[in-house]
């Protein structure tokens, strides 16, 4: 039976050395590109390890692609490709040997493993460097070969742990482009764990934010971004003050945000026409005009603040109960 969900977690608790790391986590993530976010110690890597069947589930259940990693760990690992955060490789091998060896370990027949290793290396942009030993690779190439070895056995789901670590802007962009290509065109789901909100925003369509072992927020990024009130973000070329005056004459409120960005709140029925009138009157050009959305940064911060607040409240409640009794 083909599962539509990449990840299905209910009431999951996981202990590490008798410390509860994941506390009653519940989430359902459909297949696609999923961003896994959270500060240090939020439980991201614990969750990744539980998904691969390395850790014992204390309570609740977890399904990866419909499989239970507790009982069917090898089944799960057959269907996923894992790109670890650390700089990992098997020394003394050429790139193509290494990747085909990884394919073999995942159950590919010998010839097929070699074929797919070449293909995977080409796909990850290491075609020219296939026959070099990995010991001579640069940081950017090491990141790529980690991706190539995760892809070689044609997984359904990729776990990517900080894939852009240590890359310069161009390296980072091409890595993100590659990941997006994989998720959009190759029908492979991705769970991307990263400290860079921007990476998640460019690649993922869903997000799971963990904080102190609990789910701070989860869902489609598009839905989380939507804001109730209609407001526009505007950037001008020209004198902002005269534009603000022109808007004020029309009874429209306008605030300056950072970077000369203006925030204008208008009624839904007014439409954008008034804004252009005001711009013409003020002699400025509207260079950018977009409905205001929450950024992932704002979603992340507010989710964490809320979770933090809730937890503090519940502890103070407990304290009160204690002091009463």
């Amino acid at each position: 039976m083909e599962s539509k969900l990449a990840l299905q977690i209910s009431n999951l608790s996981v202990y590490l050395a008798s410390k509860e790391i994941l506390k009653n986590v519940t989430a359902e993530m459909p297949k696609g590109a999923i961003g896994l976010l959270g500060p240090n110690g939020a439980g991201k890597s614990t969750l990744l390890k539980t998904m691969m069947g390395f850790l014992r589930v204390h309570n609740g259940s977890i399904r990866v692609l419909g499989f239970d990693p507790q009982r069917e760990g090898a089944e799960v690992r057959q269907r996923i490709g894992y790109m670890p955060e650390d700089d990992t490789y098997i020394p003394g091998m050429t790139a193509v040997e290494f990747v085909s060896y990884c394919g073999l370990l995942c159950g590919l027949p010998h010839k097929e493993a070699m074929l797919r290793a070449h293909q995977s290396l080409h796909y990850c942009g290491l075609g020219e460097a296939r026959y070099r030993t990995i010991d001579t690779y640069s940081t950017g190439m090491r990141q790529r070969i980690k991706l190539a070895q995760a892809l070689v056995h044609d997984p359904e789901l990729l776990f990517l742990d900080e894939p852009t670590n240590g890359l310069d802007p161009q390296g980072r962009k091409s890595m993100l482009d590659l990941i997006r290509e994989i998720t959009r065109n190759k029908n492979i789901s991705v769970i991307l764990s990263s400290h860079l909100l921007h990476d998640v925003e460019t690649v993922c369509d869903q997000v799971l934010v963990l904080f102190q072992g609990t789910v701070a927020t989860s869902g489609r990024i598009e839905d989380l971004k939507r804001i109730a009130q209609a407001a526009y973000e505007i950037r001008l070329k020209g004198d902002a003050d005269s534009f603000i005056d022109a808007l004020a004459q029309r009874g429209i409120d306008c605030q300056t945000k950072k970077d000369n960005m203006l925030q204008v709140k208008i009624q839904e029925e007014t439409g954008t026409e008034t804004l252009f009138q005001a711009a013409q009157d003020a002699g400025v050009q509207i260079r950018h005009m977009a409905k205001e959305e929450m950024t992932l940064k704002e979603i992340f911060s507010s989710a964490i603040q809320q979770t933090n607040g809730n937890q503090n409240e519940s502890t103070t409640e407990i304290n009160q109960v204690n002091s009463q009794s």
């Binding site: 057959q78 650390d86 003394g92 159950g107 892809l151 044609d154």
Partner: protein, 295 residues
Amino acid sequence: MPVYEQTYSHYEGEYRPRSLAWTLIARRGIIQTWRKKWFRIILMFCLAPFIIMTLRIYLASNMELLNLLEFNTSAVKDILNIDEKFYHTFLLIQSFPCFLMTLFTGADLIASDRRTKALTLYLSKPITRLDYLFGKASIPCFYLYLVSMIPGLFLMFFYAFFNENWMYLWENRQIAGRIVLLSHVYIIPMIALILAISSMTRSKVSAVVMFCVISFVPDTLVNILYNLVQETWINPDYFSLFSLNTVNRQLGAVLFKQEIPYDLHWGWYVSALAVLVALCGLILNKQIRAVEVVK
């Protein structure tokens, strides 16, 4: 003419059964070890006694050659007596090559994977920890067979071949069994020990040093203590349980019905080895798990 886009494609074929995963690790490791030139030189050195022994068998089978050379003294005849003792001597000599092979094939097995964090990669594939360990253990095992059991059996085969007496093999099947048994007495504890040591460190050098220390220091200590407590109430033979070398010598003598060096029942020695292997197993279990759990 169609236009092909050179890109990633999905795999439609079958995956091989997972029970074979350990053979892949073993194969890879055996090939990689063989590729090293200095290793092949050491292997040749380790097989030198085998060549000398083969020569002995050849001479023993061609007495007329010695007569021709007028070399047929009683001392020479003694050397050329091919019996149980001959095979026992061969295996006794091979215990040092066995040590060398273990050291050179085993010390870096897990240490290198820990150094480059490759263990995480292995364990993220659909293989179990047991597959990994079994695969890794097979690498020194292969080369240890190559310097102990296999040449031992070949010596018997050569004797039969030179004398054209194929019944010899059947008549002496017990000796063959003893060769196989004693080889395993050598091999199993050594592999367990080297894997456990290799899993505790990230550096090849410290694994090598640790293995040498564990192999030689107890042996020397046992000898010193053995002589020290000769005249006291302590039975000095008990010390022989604490050195791999003395244990192997005792069990070898028992198996080949030779004069036994220590006055203790062989059960003690087997138990000592079992304890050692179990201890190594525990260490491996803890170390390999630690990599999974603690990052």
